[in-house]
Symmetry: C2
Amino acid sequence: MTEFYDRLEENFRNSFEPPAPSEDTMDPWGETRIVGKGIPRVDAYERVSGKALFTYDVILPEMVYGAILRCPHAHAMVKRIDTSAAEKMPGVVAVITGSTPGADISWYGAQSKLFDPHCRHQGEEVAAVAAQTPYQAWDAAKAIKVEYEELPFVVDEDSALKPGAPEIHPGGNAAGKPRPQTRGDVEKGFVEADIVLEETFRTPVQMHTTIETHGSVVKWDGEKITVWDSSQGVYDAGLMSFARTMNMPYNNVRFLCPYVGGAFGSKLELGKYTIIAALLSRKASRPVKLMLTREETMLCVGNRPNAKMTVKAGVKKDGTLTALQLTCVFTPGAYSSMAFVGFLFQELYKCPNVMVLESGIYTNAGRSRAFRAPGFPTAAWSLEQMMDMLAEKLNMDPVEFRLKNFTEISPSRRVPYSSAGLKDCIIEGAKKFGWSEAKATKTESGHIKRGVGMAAGLWMMGSGGPPYTAEVRMFADGGVTVKTGAMDLGTGTKTTAAMVAAEELGIPVENIRMINADTAITPYASSSGGSMTLASLAPAVRRGAWLVKRQIFGWAAEILGVTADDLEIRDKSIVSRSNPSKKKTLEEIFRTKGVLDVIAIGNREANPAGKAVMPFSAQFAEVEVNTKTGEVKVVRLVGANDSGRVVNLKSYENQVYGGMTQGLGYALTEKRVMDPQTGKMCNTNLHDYKVPTALDVPVRPEVVPVDLKDNECNNVGCKGLGEPGHVPTAAAIANAIYNAIGVRPTDGPVDNRMILELLSRKRRG
Amino acid sequence: MTEFYDRLEENFRNSFEPPAPSEDTMDPWGETRIVGKGIPRVDAYERVSGKALFTYDVILPEMVYGAILRCPHAHAMVKRIDTSAAEKMPGVVAVITGSTPGADISWYGAQSKLFDPHCRHQGEEVAAVAAQTPYQAWDAAKAIKVEYEELPFVVDEDSALKPGAPEIHPGGNAAGKPRPQTRGDVEKGFVEADIVLEETFRTPVQMHTTIETHGSVVKWDGEKITVWDSSQGVYDAGLMSFARTMNMPYNNVRFLCPYVGGAFGSKLELGKYTIIAALLSRKASRPVKLMLTREETMLCVGNRPNAKMTVKAGVKKDGTLTALQLTCVFTPGAYSSMAFVGFLFQELYKCPNVMVLESGIYTNAGRSRAFRAPGFPTAAWSLEQMMDMLAEKLNMDPVEFRLKNFTEISPSRRVPYSSAGLKDCIIEGAKKFGWSEAKATKTESGHIKRGVGMAAGLWMMGSGGPPYTAEVRMFADGGVTVKTGAMDLGTGTKTTAAMVAAEELGIPVENIRMINADTAITPYASSSGGSMTLASLAPAVRRGAWLVKRQIFGWAAEILGVTADDLEIRDKSIVSRSNPSKKKTLEEIFRTKGVLDVIAIGNREANPAGKAVMPFSAQFAEVEVNTKTGEVKVVRLVGANDSGRVVNLKSYENQVYGGMTQGLGYALTEKRVMDPQTGKMCNTNLHDYKVPTALDVPVRPEVVPVDLKDNECNNVGCKGLGEPGHVPTAAAIANAIYNAIGVRPTDGPVDNRMILELLSRKRRG
C-alpha cells in the first residue's frame, strides 16, 4: 500500500509541474452523442451468463489446489513444524514452510516474513499444501503438526499502550512516530473564535467483504510464470510486485485479471497467497489454484482501521471557521499502515488554522489496508458531526454554515481547483432532497422518530494522472479494439472506456472490443484505486482514439481534397461535413495506404499546472428511528457529486448507490468484533459480520450529478467518483439520527443497542 | 495467392514512390556486435524439447476432430449425398455438406465452391464430419454415401488441348489469356545475333511436402472465434481472409501460429479445412481440430506447376546477348493460378530484346500455388542451360559469358539496383569452388563421370516493404519484449528479430523475449512469403528499438546533463561514452519518469525511390554420374548469395542449405506422377514421392555471403534469402551433368532412367 500511495503522492506533485508542451492539442468535447448517456455494460452478457472468467473460474489442465495452514492463536511463536504426516496424505503433491528453499521472503517491509515464526495475530501463515482437490489440501494442512509457544496478546489500543503490555514489535506498540500537520496557528484560531467545541468520536474496524475472495492461479513455464490473480492492478500490485519479490525479470512475469469480484482497496497489494501458490507450483511442477476462504479473508487481507478522534473546533458568530484540531488514534493491527484521517480536516473548508495529529498503535489483529477513500469516511464521521454541532450552537442551518466556509482555492495546495463543485453539490443536493421542507416538517409523534441530516466530503486523489496508457486499434472495416492494462473492478471501466472511444471516433459502442488487464497484451496502467481509474483511463483512451482519427483523417483529407477538420466518420465511411458527397469508405482509404489497421497508444497527459483537481460530494439522509427497538431505517439518501463530466450515467449511479450502501453499513451495522478473552475475531463470516442487503437500503437512492464543465482537469473533463460518493454517507446518517432523537451518536456503528443506550443516556440527562 | 501477389506488386510500385519525409532518420550500422554472428535459435530449447506449440499440438477441453470426405474420382459430378448413416456412427457430433446453412461459399475466386458438386480433380471436398476421435471421424466420413456421375478427364496439357477434350471449366481448358511481355524487338535481336540457338526444356510438378501438414484448430466464443492455423500469415492468410470469407468483423477473429512446421508457399492461402473446421465447430458447439493427412496435402494444397519451355536466344561473337525469347506452357491444375516463369528472362541479364509468353492449361489435377520462388527455378532450368549452350558455342567460359552480360541497372525496372551483387556472387562463388581448376581437371576415365556446372539467379521480391510493424517494449529492469505479427516458418525469424533489437539497444540477445504471430497480441505483418520477412521485419524492429532508445536517451541526457548522442546502454545502465562516470541505471531513469516501460511501434519505412532492390545468387555444383546405373551424386554445392547484410550467419547458412537441397530434389528426384488410366496421383506419400534426405546432399554444402554494404535498401541493409538460394540449384546441377556426360538433360527430374536414356540417345547420336 505504501508504494501505491507513494505513487499517488507523486501524481500530486506532478500535477504542479507544467505539462509537457504538445503541438497537437485536442479540443474539449462540446455536446456529446454517447458520453453522458446511461448504457448497459459492454460485458453484461458475459457477467450475467457466467461466461466472464473470474480468477475463481480458472481451471487449467493438471491443476492442483493450495491451502494455507494458519496460526490459530492471537500471538504465538512457532517452535517446530512436522510435515511428515501431511506429506503422506492422499493427493498431496507439495508441502512448504518457511524453511523451504526460496520461501525466506520479507513481508510488510521488513516487519515480517512470508512464513514468520512470530505469529502476531490469528490467521498468520505457517505452512502450505498443494493437493489434487481443495478438500485434500485442507485436510493435509490440518495434518501438519505445529508446536506453538503461546504469547500474551492485546486486541485494543488502550491495553496495547499500558506499561508491561506484550510487545508486538520490539520497542513498543507505537506504530511509527506521529507527525503533526499544521496550517496557521490553531491556538490563535481558538482565541479568535466566538464558540469552541470539543468532542470525541469513534469509528469501528470495517471489513472489505469482497464477493470474490482473494486468490491466484499460477502456472510456470520454465522460468516464466503466468498468474491469474484477483487483483486491483495487474501491473503495480501484480507483475511489478511479484517480479521484485521473486527477484525475476519483469519480462518473465504475466498477470491477468479480466474480471474481479470486488476489491475496495483490499486487492491493491500482492498477496502472500500468490507467492505461496507460486512456490507450491514450482515444487509440485503443476499449476496451482489457491483461493482464500471467506474466513481467511476476514483475518488476513485487511480492513479499515478503527479510530478514536478528538475534534476541537472554533467558529466566529457569523459562521466563519477559525480553527480545527484533530487528534486521532487508530490501530493498523499488527503491522504498519496508514490512516489518512487528517486530510479531510485540512482540505474541506476554508479554515485558516488546522492541526491534525494521527498516531497508530499495534494490536494483535489483522493489518489494515486501503479501504474505499481510506481515512475519509472516518474523518467525515467526526468533522461533519462537529460541523452540525457548531451550526446548532450558531443557530445556523447546516447547509448555510457549510456554504459559508466553502472555498474555490484548495486550502492545503494553495492553488485554485480546476472545478470547485462542493457549493453546487450542497445546493443541488439540498434542492433535490427538499432540505428546507424536510427540516420544517419534522414530526415527533409516536415511537418512530423521523430525522434528516446532511454531510459534505471530497476526495484527495480523484484527479487521476499519468502514467496510464491505452492502445486504440481501428481495423479497415471500422471495428475498434481498445487495450488497456486498467482494471474493471466491477465499476464498469470497460464500458466507460468503450463509450469514450466511440464518442471520439464517431462510431457505435457496439463496434468497440475491449481487452483489459493482461500484462502480456495490454499496455501499462497503474492499479485501480484512489478513484483514479476513469480520470486516468478516459483521457488516455480519448487521446489514442484521437491519434487514430487524426491519422485516418489526414489520409482521407488528401484523398478527398478537403481539410481534415471538415471530416467525420459516418457508418464506416469518412465524410466531408460541408460536402457530404465527398466520402470514401474506411476500407477504401485503408486500402490506398495498404494497411489493415491503424494503431495508436494514448498516453494520459499531465494534470494541469497550478490547479488542484478533486471531486466533491454532498449527501442528504432521512432516517426513521424506532425508539422502542433502537432500529434505524434509512428511508432516503440523496447523493450530489461533482465528479466532472458523467461518462456513463448508469455506472455513475451505480458507484454512488454502492458508496452510499457501504456508508450505510459503516454507520449502522459493520464492525469487526474481537474477543478480548481469546484475541480472536468473533465474526469472520457474512452471517455474523453484517453488511447491508437490498432490504436495508432505500428503495430508490437519488443521485444528482453536478458538472461544472471542467475543461482543465483533463481532456474528457471527468474526475474520480468511486470514493467521494462514499465519504459523507455515514456522517449524514449520524446527523439525521441526531436530528431524529436529539442525542448525538458519536461512536459508530449506531446499531440498535447503541440507539437504546443513547436514548437511555438522554433520559438520564 | 492472387491477393498476396497483388500486394507484392503494390510493394514494387511503392518502391518507386518517394518515401515519406522523416525528420528523424537513423544512421546505417557500422561495425556490429551481434548482427552477423551465427547464434543458435532463441527458441531452440522449445523446439528440441517438444514444448513448442505447433498447430498439431493444440488440444482444447471438449475438442472434437474433423475429417473431410474427398472425391475419389479424377472428374465427377456429385448427384446425391446421404449422411444419415454417418450421423449415427459412434462419436459423431456434426456432419456438414454444401447444403449446410452457411456452407455455400465461393472458392478459387468464383471458379469453385467450398463443397462444389462439380469435382474437378481427385480429392476435392465433398462433405465433412466431426467426432470424438480422429478415427471415428474418418470412419464416419467413409460412411457418407455419395452418388457420383463420373466424367471423362485429362491429366496432361497436350490431351487437354485436343478437340473434344473434356472441359474442366466452360469455354475450354485455356487458363486465362496469355499476355506476351516484351522489351525491345526480339526479331531484330535475332537478326543482329551471330549465333541463335533454340531448345525446349521441361520441368515436373513439384510438391511442397511440408513436415507439418496443413490444418486448423478452431474455437468459437459467441460471435468471436480463435483459430490456431498452420499458416504463413496470421493476418493476410488468416484473420483477413477468414473474416471476409465468413463475413465477420476483423475484430471478432483471432489467428495464432507461433510455430509452423514448414510451408514453402503452400500456407499463403486460407485453407478450405479452416472454414470447414469453423462450420463443424459452430454446428457441434465444440472446438474442432482438423489436420490434413499427408495424402490429403499431396492432392489439395498446391504444388509447383510443370512447364514446357521453348527458349530461343541470340548472341554476338563477343558474348553480348541480343535476344531472348521464351514460350512457356504450364498447367495450374484444375483452377487458375500463375507461373511467373518469364521474369527471370526479363531481369537476369542486360539483353535489350526479350519476349516471354506464358500460357496455362487446365487439367484434372490439384491446383498449383506459390512455391519457393514461384517460376524462378523453372526459368533458371531453361535459361541457365541455354546460357551454357551459348557459351559452349562461343567457346567462352560460362562464368566469363555471364559476367559479360551483367548489369547494374535493372533491365525491367530501368533504375539502378540498390546493390547489384550478381557479379560478386559469380566471382566469389567461382573462387570458393575453384572453378577454373575444377574445369581444368575434368577426368573422363571409368564409368563414374565427374562434371562441374554453375548457374545464376535472382529473385524479384526480396526487397521486403511496408506495411510491417513490430512493437518494442523495454522494461525498467532492461528486459525487452518484441511483438510482431510476423511468422517464423522455421527460418529463424524470431532469432534474427531478437538480434536486431539487441544490436540496436546494445543489450544481450538473452534479454529479449519474442512474441509473434498472434493477431490479438502482435501488430500487423504481412504473410511470410516472397523472401520478404527479414527485409520487412528487421528494419521495423530496428526502428522500434531505436524509438525506444531515443526516448530513454532523451530522458537520460536531461538527467545526466550530456547529449543523447553521447549515450549508450551498458549492463542495465545508461552511460556517457565520453565520461563513463556519468551514468544512471535504467531503473533510476524510469523511476524518475514514473514509468514501468517504454513502448514504441516500429514501422517498416518505404523502399528507396528510384532504385530496384533484389537479391542475387550464383551456385556451383560438382556431380558424379554413374554411367552404368544412371545414378547422379551431387558431391559439392557452393552457393554465393548477395542478400545484403547477414543478420544471423547460422540461419543464413540454413536457408541456403535448405534451398540447395530442395533444388537438388527438383533436379533429380521430385515429380508428381499422374496415372493417365485413372486420372489419380500415384505418389501421394513420402515413400513414393522422393524428397532428398541427408544422405542425398553433399556432406558440407558451402555458403559464400556477399555483402556490398547496401545502405539504401533499408535501415538494416538486408535483402531476402529464402528463395534466391533455391533458384539456380537445379540448373547448376543440370549443367554439371552435361559437363560430365556430354549430353544435355533438358527435361527434369534427371533420375536414373533419364540419365540412361540420355546416354543411349547420345550413343545413338
